[in-house]
């Protein structure tokens, strides 16, 4: 690539545009992660509740969300769901940043559904007898979960959760369909303004790859620490 215009990426308005996109992508991922983790935990616990109704509710949530493409989720939360709100609330929402809000809601639900499954399999890997023993000692369901099962389960769940975070980071690019100015959106904008496809997508690729590798590195480091701890 003799005419790779590096200056386009390091200075000037297009640089600013791409960097703004990169930060928005990071904020989308971080915001979603903060919201999705607790939701995932709630859903996972719900699915293991003794009550059939509550467990069914958790099951319904996971299946309804996992079996619909993320793109459809985002379009639904942008074009569909807000239309059901009362007029006044709707207008207030639309004056604000409805694009980002819809994307975060869709990403949160989508990510939480997957994460809850990871948490649940982590919980199931803790022998059932532990919960039974805790209950026999007089702890309630929630206290047994909180004090006995979840601390063990969550440790096992960390690697798959990091892997879900990796998916989440890449999934933020889907927000561009509703006009959210994230990284890939800005890369496309720069491309159509400058016809510099190679440069703009090189920036996007490097950014996605860089953050993804960082997340992967985190998973590897965690594995080392846990395995190291086990050896002692």
């Amino acid at each position: 690539m003799a005419d790779f215009d590096l200056a386009l990426l390091t200075t000037g308005p297009y640089h600013a545009q791409l960097v703004a996109g990169f930060w928005l992508s990071l904020r989308l991922a971080a915001g979603t992660l903060v919201l999705a983790l607790p939701l995932a935990l709630v859903v996972a616990v719900l699915r293991m509740m003794p009550s059939r109704l509550l467990a069914g509710l958790g099951f319904g949530f996971v299946e309804a969300i996992r079996n619909v493409p993320l793109l459809a989720h985002i379009l639904f939360w942008y074009f569909g769901a807000p239309e059901l709100l009362p007029e006044g609330l709707k207008q207030w929402l639309y004056r604000g940043n409805i694009e980002v809000a819809a994307a975060v809601i869709a990403l949160t639900l989508y990510t939480a559904a997957y994460m809850s499954e990871d948490i649940r399999s982590g919980v199931r890997s803790v022998p059932r007898e532990q919960l039974e023993a805790a209950r026999a000692l007089g702890f309630g369901f929630f206290t047994s979960m909180r004090l006995v099962v979840l601390p063990q389960a969550l440790r096992i769940t960390v690697p798959p959760l990091i892997s879900q975070t990796l998916s989440l980071w890449k999934n933020t690019s889907m927000a561009m369909v509703v006009g959210v100015g994230e990284l890939l959106y800005q890369a496309q904008q720069v491309e159509s303004a400058t016809f510099r496809s190679f440069e703009s997508f090189a920036f996007a690729t490097a950014s996605y790859l860089g953050v993804s590798l960082l997340i992967t590195g985190l998973a590897v480091a965690y594995e080392h620490r846990v395995q190291g701890a086990r050896r002692h």
Binding site: F79, V178, G179, S192
Partner: protein, 275 residues
């Protein structure tokens, strides 16, 4: 350079140049007995293949026919690829271009243009309730359009302070306008008119602002420096305008009874200047 060769070159140039300057395309075309118009044949309704007759028809074909009639020769169409239009004209393989050709400054260096034969623009659609009458009022407002389009670039130029939200396609941007997710929707005029017609009973709540955020002039392409031909072609267009034939042509290809559904003709054959 060798002196003798230089002399030879000068002689050849002296012999050839006046010839080229004297040759008049109008006389050539009359002698040939046919006017070759370069058309696209793929751009409905400018020039396209009529599925019934299998012949190339269209607005620009009618213009070509009118010019051939004036010259007293038979028209002949040559289908061209978009990128081949200007070179084919420069090399004399077609006499004029009637090929959805945009008149722009860059091309003025290469060829001449007739009076503008079609003027289209990118415009703004908004809800009447927004109270917006001028594109400049869109500063600080959400404006909806299509990703990667020239609309996106042009609205940024006209209203730098507008907050632009772009979608993958125009139906999505139009839906977002209907839902109130932005105050305005920018697209080219033909698409806006098409979208507007789909609104049905809700049309009364919407308005397409008369001001264009950009204008695009289509014109017939003429060989550079052929003033005789340019005078003749412009004369034909002015005659069409005067006789009312131009309005009829417009109505035939773009009018309310066509799928283009232009309510009225937004331009006249009057200028070969672009801004």
């Amino acid at each position: 350079m060798n002196n003798r060769i230089r002399l030879l070159a000068a002689t050849v140039a002296a012999a050839v140049l006046p010839l080229a300057a004297q040759a008049d395309q109008v006389a050539d075309v009359k002698a040939k007995g046919e006017l070759v118009c370069g058309v696209l044949g793929t751009d409905d309704p400018f020039s396209f293949v009529d599925p019934k007759s299998r012949e190339i028809v269209g607005y620009e074909v009618d213009l070509c026919n009118a010019i051939a009639k004036k010259l007293g020769v038979k028209p002949s169409l040559k289908q061209l690829a978009v990128a081949a239009r200007v070179p084919e004209l420069q090399q004399g393989r077609v006499d004029i271009l009637a090929a959805s050709l945009t008149h722009n400054k860059e091309r003025e260096a290469l060829i001449d243009f007739s009076l503008s034969t079609f003027v289209t623009g990118q415009k703004v659609m908004t809800k009447k309730s927004s109270g917006i009458a001028q594109p400049s009022q869109l500063a600080g407002q959400k404006v909806l359009t299509v990703k990667g389009s020239t609309m996106e670039q042009n609205i940024k130029k006209v209203v730098p302070a507008a907050e632009i939200v772009s979608f993958d396609n125009s139906p999505q941007a139009f839906l977002a306008l209907q839902q109130g997710k932005g105050v305005a929707y920018v697209n080219d005029e033909t698409s806006l008119i098409d979208d507007f017609s789909k609104l049905g009973a809700a049309q009364k709540d919407y308005v397409i602002l008369p001001a264009s955020i950009s204008t695009e002039h289509l014109a017939l392409g003429l060989k550079k420096g052929e003033t005789g031909m340019k005078t003749l072609v412009d004369g034909v267009l002015r005659d069409l305008e005067k006789s009312g034939e131009a309005d009829k042509l417009f109505a035939k290809w773009f009018g309310p009874d066509t799928k283009m559904k232009f309510p009225s003709r937004p331009f006249k054959y009057e200028t070969d200047k672009i801004d």
